[in-house]
C-alpha cells in the first residue's frame, strides 16, 4: 500500500512505473469510500428519494464559461459527432423533474477538463439531488443532516452567512457595488502577490478575494453555508428581486474546503435561454469553445419544471473529510497520472 506523501498530488511526483500500478489511496480509504456510498444510499432510501441514472455522454454540454467539458466522439448514423462527458447531471435530472418523477438523487462520475490540484481531479464523484417544492433553506438543512450522518459527527454545528455579509464583515467590501479598481486595490492591500498584473472582470476579482482571503477561514470546526450570491454569479439559480437582486444560490464549506453548491432552481425558460446566450457570448469573447446548449432541457422548462431546490456535493472531498486527508489523491484509487 502506498501513501501519497503530504499534500502533494501525483502530478507533482515522479511516478516509478514499477510502483504506479498500485492505488494512490490506502486500502482503508477505499473501504471508507464504499461505506460512505452505502450510508448516502441509506439516507435517501429512508427519505423516499429515488436514485436515478442519466447519460454521462451527451450531445449537449454545460455552457458555463468557467467549466470545460471533456469531449469524446460518437459514430452516429449521420456521421461522427462530438459527445460531451457531463460536468454535472443537472440538465437531464431536471428533465426527469419536469416529467414528474418527484424527489431524485444521483451518484455519478463527472468530468471537467483542466482541473487538477490538491482539491481537483478531472474526473470526480458527484452526489446531486433535487427536492421539488422545497425552498433552498430547507435543502440546506437536509444537506447538513446528510453530512453529519455520513461523517458520523452528529454534533457538527451549522453557520449561515450571506455573500454580502462575508465580504462586508471580513474585507469591508460591498460585492454588489465595489468596482474593479477598488477590488484590485483591496487585493493588493491583502498582499495577494501578482494581483497587480492580473486582468480580471468584476466577478473574477470577487473570486480572487474569495479564494485567497476568505475561503481559508470558512467552515472552521463547523459547516458554513454561504448563500445569496451576486446575480452575475447566479449560474442556474433563481434571482430574487429585493433591496438589491440576489441569486438564491448556496455553497457549503467545511475546513476551508468547498463541498457543495445548491440553487433555488431557475425554472423560467426565457431567463434560462438568456443565460445560455450570455454564457456563449462570454465564451466567444474569451476565445473558448462554444458547446451546444441543451435544447431538450429548455423544452422541459417550457413544458414546466416544478419549483424546487437542488444541490451537488463533491463526494471525494466529503470522503477526504471523513478520513482526514488533505489531498484528493489520498481518496482516489487511481488518479489520472496512474489511470
Amino acid at each position: 500500500m502506498t501513501e501519497v506523501g503530504g499534500s502533494r498530488t501525483a502530478a507533482e511526483q515522479v511516478l516509478d512505473p514499477a510502483a504506479s500500478w498500485r492505488p494512490a489511496a490506502s486500502l482503508e480509504a477505499l473501504r471508507e469510500r464504499a461505506a460512505l456510498l452505502a450510508s448516502i444510499r441509506a439516507f435517501f432510501a429512508e427519505r423516499g428519494v429515488l436514485e436515478v441514472e442519466t447519460p454521462i455522454a451527451s450531445r449537449a454540454a454545460s455552457t458555463d464559461p468557467a467549466i470545460e467539458s471533456l469531449v469524446s466522439h460518437w459514430s452516429a448514423p449521420s456521421g461522427r459527432q462530438p459527445v460531451y462527458l457531463h460536468s454535472s447531471p443537472e440538465f437531464p435530472m431536471k428533465r426527469l423533474l419536469a416529467a414528474g418523477l418527484g424527489p431524485i438523487y444521483q451518484i455519478c462520475k463527472v468530468f471537467r477538463d483542466g482541473e487538477r490540484g490538491r482539491l481537483h481531479h478531472p474526473e470526480f464523484t458527484l452526489l446531486e439531488w433535487y427536492r421539488p417544492g422545497w425552498p433552498y433553506g430547507r435543502l440546506m438543512e437536509e444537506v447538513a443532516e446528510l453530512v453529519r450522518r455520513v461523517l458520523e459527527r452528529p454534533g457538527l454545528e451549522v453557520e449561515h452567512l450571506t455573500y454580502r455579509e462575508l465580504f462586508r464583515d471580513r474585507l469591508a467590501v460591498d460585492p454588489w457595488s465595489a468596482d474593479v479598481p477598488s477590488l484590485r486595490d483591496r487585493g493588493l492591500e491583502l498582499g495577494i502577490s501578482g494581483a497587480e498584473s492580473l486582468e480580471l472582470d468584476r466577478d473574477g476579482w470577487l473570486d480572487l478575494l474569495l479564494t485567497h482571503s476568505l475561503e481559508p477561514g470558512l467552515g472552521k470546526g463547523c459547516l458554513t453555508f454561504l448563500r445569496d450570491y451576486p446575480p452575475t454569479q447566479a449560474s442556474l439559480a433563481r434571482v430574487r428581486d429585493g433591496e438589491g437582486p440576489v441569486a438564491e444560490r448556496f455553497e457549503l464549506y467545511l475546513e476551508a474546503v468547498e463541498l457543495a453548491n445548491g440553487f433555488q432552481e431557475l425554472t423560467d425558460p426565457e431567463v434560462q435561454q438568456a443565460r445560455f446566450a450570455a454564457d456563449l457570448e462570454a465564451r466567444l469573447g474569451r476565445g473558448l469553445p462554444t458547446p451546444p446548449p441543451d435544447a431538450a432541457f429548455l423544452a422541459a422548462l417550457v413544458a414546466g419544471m416544478p419549483e424546487g431546490a437542488g444541490v451537488a456535493l463533491g463526494l471525494d472531498r466529503l470522503l477526504m473529510a471523513r478520513v482526514g486527508a488533505s489531498c484528493i489523491d489520498a481518496v482516489l484509487a487511481f488518479p489520472i497520472e496512474r489511470a
Binding site: 507533482e12 483542466g114 492580473l198 480580471l200
Partner: protein, 189 residues
C-alpha cells in the same frame, strides 16, 4: 519565444517573471466551483535564491526561461572570473562571483562542475558533491585518536576550513562533502 500555459505548471519548471529566471517550487490550483480558476505558485528566483508567491489566472501563458544544467570543467581563475570549458565542444565560458556562490571554496582546476546556464551564460555553479583536497594547515593532533569525536579545524588547499578528526595531519588528502561542508574520510590521490 517559448511559453508555458498554467496547465503545464509543475515543480521545477523554469519561467521568466519581471525579467528574471525563476523555478517553480510549488503550484496550487485554486478554483471556486462556479468561477475563475487561479494558479497560486511559489517560485524561486534563480539569481537571488529568494522564494516568492505569485497568483496567475489559469489559462494565462508565461515566457519560458532558457535555463538548463550542463557539466563543465573548471579551468582557472583570472582574479575576477572563473573560466570553464564544455568537455564536448571545448567552448569556454566565464562565471562571476555571484554565479560561483560557495563553489570556489571547493573546486580545483580540472574539476567537473554542474553549471546552470541562462540564455547560454552561467547563472550558478555547483561543485561536485565530493571533492578530494589536501590539508595545508592543521594543529598536530594526538597520535592514536581515531574516534574523531572532538575534531579540530583544518585549512584546505582551496582555503576552505573544515573540521577533521585529531589523527588527520597537514599534507594529507581528505574527502569532503561539499553540500554539508563536512569531512568524510582520508583519501588517496
Amino acid at each position: 519565444m517559448a511559453t508555458y500555459s498554467t496547465s503545464e505548471f509543475k515543480g521545477g519548471l523554469k519561467i521568466m517573471l519581471d525579467g528574471d529566471p525563476y523555478s517553480i517550487v510549488e503550484n496550487e490550483f485554486v478554483k471556486p466551483g462556479k468561477g475563475q480558476a487561479f494558479n497560486r505558485v511559489r517560485v524561486r528566483n534563480l539569481k537571488t535564491g529568494r522564494v516568492v508567491e505569485k497568483t496567475f489566472k489559469s489559462g494565462e501563458t508565461v515566457e519560458a526561461a532558457d535555463v538548463h544544467d550542463t557539466e563543465m570543467q573548471y579551468l582557472y581563475n583570472d582574479g575576477e572570473y572563473w573560466h570553464f570549458m564544455d568537455p564536448q565542444s571545448y567552448e569556454q565560458m566565464t562565471a562571476d562571483a555571484t554565479a560561483m556562490g560557495e563553489a570556489p571554496k571547493w573546486i580545483k582546476e580540472e574539476d567537473v562542475c554542474k553549471v546552470t546556464l541562462w540564455n547560454g551564460q552561467p547563472l550558478s555553479v555547483e561543485p561536485p558533491n565530493f571533492v578530494v583536497l589536501e590539508i595545508t594547515e592543521t594543529d598536530p593532533g594526538l597520535k592514536g585518536d581515531t574516534s574523531g569525536g572532538g575534531g579540530k579545524p583544518a585549512t584546505l588547499e582551496t582555503g576552505a576550513v573544515v573540521r577533521v578528526p585529531l589523527f588527520v595531519q597537514s599534507g594529507e588528502l581528505i574527502k569532503v562533502d561539499t553540500r554539508t561542508g563536512e569531512y568524510v574520510s582520508r583519501a588517496k590521490e
